[in-house]
Symmetry: C2
C-alpha cells in the first residue's frame, strides 16, 4: 500500500501546489511497484501539464526516475561526456561527435533512441550496420566505455525504467509537451549513465518539437538548473531545424554521410554543428583551453583518421561489420531511385521538415509505431537549404526506396514540402544561440 494518498497528491498538483520530494519519490516508487495504477499516473501527468513543476520538483522527479534503476559510476579519472539532441530530420551528429570526442580522450557513454514519427533515431542508423549490437547490461556498457572510450547503445530496462514506462504513458495520454516532464526525462537518463559534462542540441523549427526560441529558452533553463543540482555541467546549443540537416535523411544514407564526414568529406552544416557541440564538451571537460584549440583538435581528429579509426573500433567492439566503412552497400540496398525535381524555380522560402520526415515513413525510412519495421536502405538525399536558388527542373534531391509506388508518392509529398519564392530569401543561421 502507498504511504501517500495518490488522490490527495493529484489534487494538490491540480490546485497548483508544489509536491514534496518525499511524496514524488513515493508516488513513483508505488507506481513502479504496481500499487498506483496507470490511470492515477496519467491524471497526475495531465495536472502537471497544466500546472507545471518548479525547479525543485523537477530535480525530485529526476532523482526518482534515477532511483528506479541502476546508476553507472565511472572511475574518477575518466572525463565522462555526452550529447543529447531533442530530435530533428537528418540529425546524424551523434555518429560523428561520439567517435571524434572519444578519439580525443573523452569517455562517451551514449544512450540513444529509435526514430518515431517524423524524427529519426541514432539507434536505427547504427543498426543499419550488420551485426551491430545495441542492447547491453549496464556493467557491459560501462566496460565498453572504459575500454574503447565510447559505446553507443539503446535504453535498457536497467537504467531509469520509470522514465521509460512514464514516457510510454505520456505518449498515449497527450502529456508529452510538458517542460518539466521533458526535463526530468532527458536529465535522468544522462545522469544515470554517469555523464558529468552534457551538451544539449535544442532544435527549433519546422522539423523540431520546439516551434520557437522562447519556449526553447525556458526548457534550457530547466535543463541547466536540473543538471546543476546533480553536479552535471550542462550547456545548450539552440540549432535551426527549418532545413533538414546535412544531405541524407534515412538510416543507411545517414550512416554513409557520417562515415564520409570522418573520411574528411564533411558537409557545411553538419560540420558547423558537430564542431560546436564537440568543442563545448572538450572545453567543459578541460581537454581544451580555448575554443580555438578545441576546434583545431576536432579538425585534426578527422584529418588524421583517428576519429574514423575510433568509429571502426566501436563498430567492431559492438559486434558490427567494420567492412561497412568501405562497402556502403552492406548498410542497405534499394532498387528504386527517383529524382525529386523542382517544378518551379526560385529561392527556397520554407521547408516543411516535419512533412518530409512523415513522408519518408511511407518507404519505411522511419516508423509511426514502435513496432513498425524499418527499411535501412530507404531514405532521401535533399540538397537545398532555405535561401538556396534552384532553376525549374533542377534536382531538389533523390528518393531511395524498395517500393516504386510509395516512392513516387514520397516524391510528390517531398516536392510539396518545399516552398519557392521568386524574390531572394535570406539564408538562415544554423546556430541560433548558445547557453
Amino acid at each position: 500500500m502507498p504511504n501517500i494518498n495518490p488522490v490527495e497528491l493529484i489534487l494538490a498538483k491540480r490546485e497548483g501546489k508544489a509536491i514534496s520530494a518525499k511524496d514524488i519519490a513515493s508516488f513513483i516508487e508505488n507506481y513502479m511497484a504496481g500499487a498506483i495504477p496507470e490511470y492515477q499516473m496519467s491524471a497526475l501527468l495531465m495536472a502537471i501539464f497544466f500546472q507545471g513543476l518548479d525547479a525543485r520538483e523537477i530535480a525530485s522527479l529526476t532523482q526518482s526516475y534515477i532511483d528506479s534503476g541502476q546508476i553507472i559510476k565511472f572511475p574518477a579519472e575518466l572525463i565522462v561526456a555526452d550529447k543529447h539532441s531533442t530530435g530533428g530530420v537528418g540529425d546524424k551528429i551523434s555518429l560523428m561527435l561520439a567517435p571524434i570526442a572519444a578519439s580525443l580522450g573523452l569517455a562517451v557513454p551514449m544512450i540513444s533512441g529509435r526514430g518515431l514519427g517524423h524524427t529519426g533515431g541514432t539507434l536505427d542508423k547504427l543498426e543499419s550496420i550488420p551485426g551491430f549490437r545495441t542492447q547491453y547490461a549496464p556493467e557491459e556498457f560501462q566496460a565498453l566505455v572504459e575500454k574503447h572510450g565510447c559505446a553507443l547503445i539503446g535504453q535498457s530496462d536497467a537504467l531509469v525504467p520509470a522514465d521509460k514506462r512514464i514516457y510510454a504513458l505520456r505518449d498515449v495520454t497527450a502529456t508529452v509537451e510538458s517542460l518539466g516532464l521533458i526535463t526530468a526525462s532527458i536529465m535522468s537518463k544522462k545522469i544515470a549513465e554517469g555523464s558529468e559534462h552534457l551538451v544539449i542540441d535544442l532544435k527549433i523549427g519546422s522539423g523540431a518539437f520546439m516551434p520557437d526560441l522562447g519556449k526553447a529558452r525556458e526548457l534550457s533553463k530547466l535543463l541547466v538548473s536540473t543538471g546543476a543540482s546533480f553536479s552535471q555541467k550542462v550547456q545548450v546549443v539552440f540549432s535551426n531545424m527549418n532545413s533538414p540537416l546535412g544531405l541524407a535523411v534515412g538510416n543507411a544514407l545517414e550512416m554513409v554521410e557520417a562515415i564520409e564526414y570522418l573520411k574528411g568529406n564533411p558537409l557545411r552544416d553538419t560540420k558547423i554543428l558537430t564542431t560546436e557541440l564537440t568543442a563545448r564538451l572538450l572545453l567543459s571537460g578541460g581537454l581544451a583551453a580555448s575554443e580555438r584549440e578545441a576546434v583545431d583538435m576536432i579538425q585534426t581528429a578527422v584529418s588524421s583518421g583517428k576519429a574514423l579509426a575510433k568509429l571502426e573500433e566501436i563498430i567492431t567492439a559492438q559486434g558490427g561489420d567494420p567492412r561497412v566503412l568501405d562497402d556502403y552497400s552492406l548498410l542497405g540496398k534499394t532498387s528504386v531511385k527517383i529524382p525529386v525535381l523542382a517544378e518551379t524555380g526560385g529561392y527556397v522560402k520554407a521547408i516543411d521538415a516535419r512533412a518530409i520526415g512523415y513522408a519518408l515513413v511511407r518507404i519505411k525510412a522511419g516508423r509511426m509505431q514502435v513496432s513498425d519495421s524499418i527499411d535501412y536502405g530507404a531514405g532521401a538525399l535533399l540538397i537545398p537549404k532555405i535561401g538556396d536558388c534552384l532553376e525549374k527542373g533542377e534536382p531538389i534531391g533523390e528518393i531511395h526506396a524498395n517500393d516504386q509506388a510509395q516512392a513516387e508518392e514520397v516524391v510528390r509529398l517531398i516536392r510539396a514540402a518545399y516552398t519557392f519564392s521568386p524574390e531572394p530569401i535570406e539564408k538562415e543561421e544554423l546556430i541560433l544561440d548558445t547557453m
Copy 2:
C-alpha cells in the same frame, strides 16, 4: 478498434478545443467496450477539469452516458418528477418529499446514492428499515412507480453505466470537481429514469461540496440548460448547508425524524426546505395552480396522514418491515448515548458541518470507503443552528453509538466543530435563492 484517435481527442481538449458530439459518443462507447483504457479516460477527465466543457459538449456527454444503458419511458399520462440534492449533512428531505409528492399524484422514480465521506445517502437511511430492498431491474423499478406512485432505489448497472464507471474513476483521479462532468453525471441519471420535472437542491456552505453561491449559480445554469436540451424542466433551489439539516445525523435517527415529520411533527428547517422543493414540483407538473395552493396541498398531505400512508405503502412494496413506523427500535439500536455539552456559552458563530460528517464516520454512521460497513443506529442529534444562543453546559446534542471510546472521541470532535461568539450572531436564511 476506436474509430477515433483517443490521443488526438485528449490533445484537442487539452488545447481547449470543443469536441464534437460524434467524437464524445465514440470515446464513451469505446471506453465502455474496453477499447479505450482507464488511463486515457483519466487523462481526458483531467484535461476537461482544466479546459471545461461548453453547453453543447455537456449535452453530448449526457446523451452518451444515457446511451450506455437502458432508458425508462413512463406512460404519457403520468407526471414524472424527481428531486436531486448535491449532498449535505443531515439531509433527509427525500424521505419526506417522495411520499408527500407521490401521495399528491406525482410519479416519483427516485434513484439515490449511498453516503460517502462527510455526506449521508438516502439509500443507507432506507436500508435501516429491515428487509427494505433497493436493487431493482429497470422494468421492476418502473412497475413499482406505476403501481405505487414512487419507488426509492439505488443506482443499477442497467441505467447510465458509463456514469457509474466514470464517476468511480473521477473519485480516484481528483477529477470530481468539474462543473461539466458534475452536470452530465446528475442529469444523465435523472433523464434516463424518465423524469420530466426535476428540482435540484443545490447546497452551499460548510457541509456542502459548493463553497459559495457564485460557483453554484454557474452549475445551476448548466443543469437547467442541459435539462432543457432533453425537454426536462429543471428548477434549482440554493439552500444553506452551514448548519446540519434538522436534528438528526445518522441513518436510523434520520429515518425516525422523517417518520415524525410525516406524523405531523416537522422541524422548522426541514419543513421549509421540503415544502419549497415539493411545491416546485407540483407547480411544474401542473398539479397546483399557485404556490399558495401547492403549500396547502403539502400541508394536507401530512395532516391527513396520506403521506405517511404512502411511505408505509412504499416500505411494504419494497419488502421493508412497516412496523418501523411505530417501533423505531427496529431501525437500529445503540448501547451508548453521550451528551455533547457546550464548554463555553454564547452565540453559535460557525458550524463545521463537514467535520461533523467526518467525525460520525468513526462510529460508523457514515463511511470513507464504499466497502465500509454502516452501523444504522449510530449518529448524532444536534440542536443549535448558527445564531442560536447556548449557556455554558447546555447540550449541543447527543451521540448515539455502539463503541464507547469512539463515541467519546466523536463528542470531542463535534464540540470542536461549533464556534461560539459572545456577541449576537445573525441567524442565516435556509433558502438562499431559487432559479
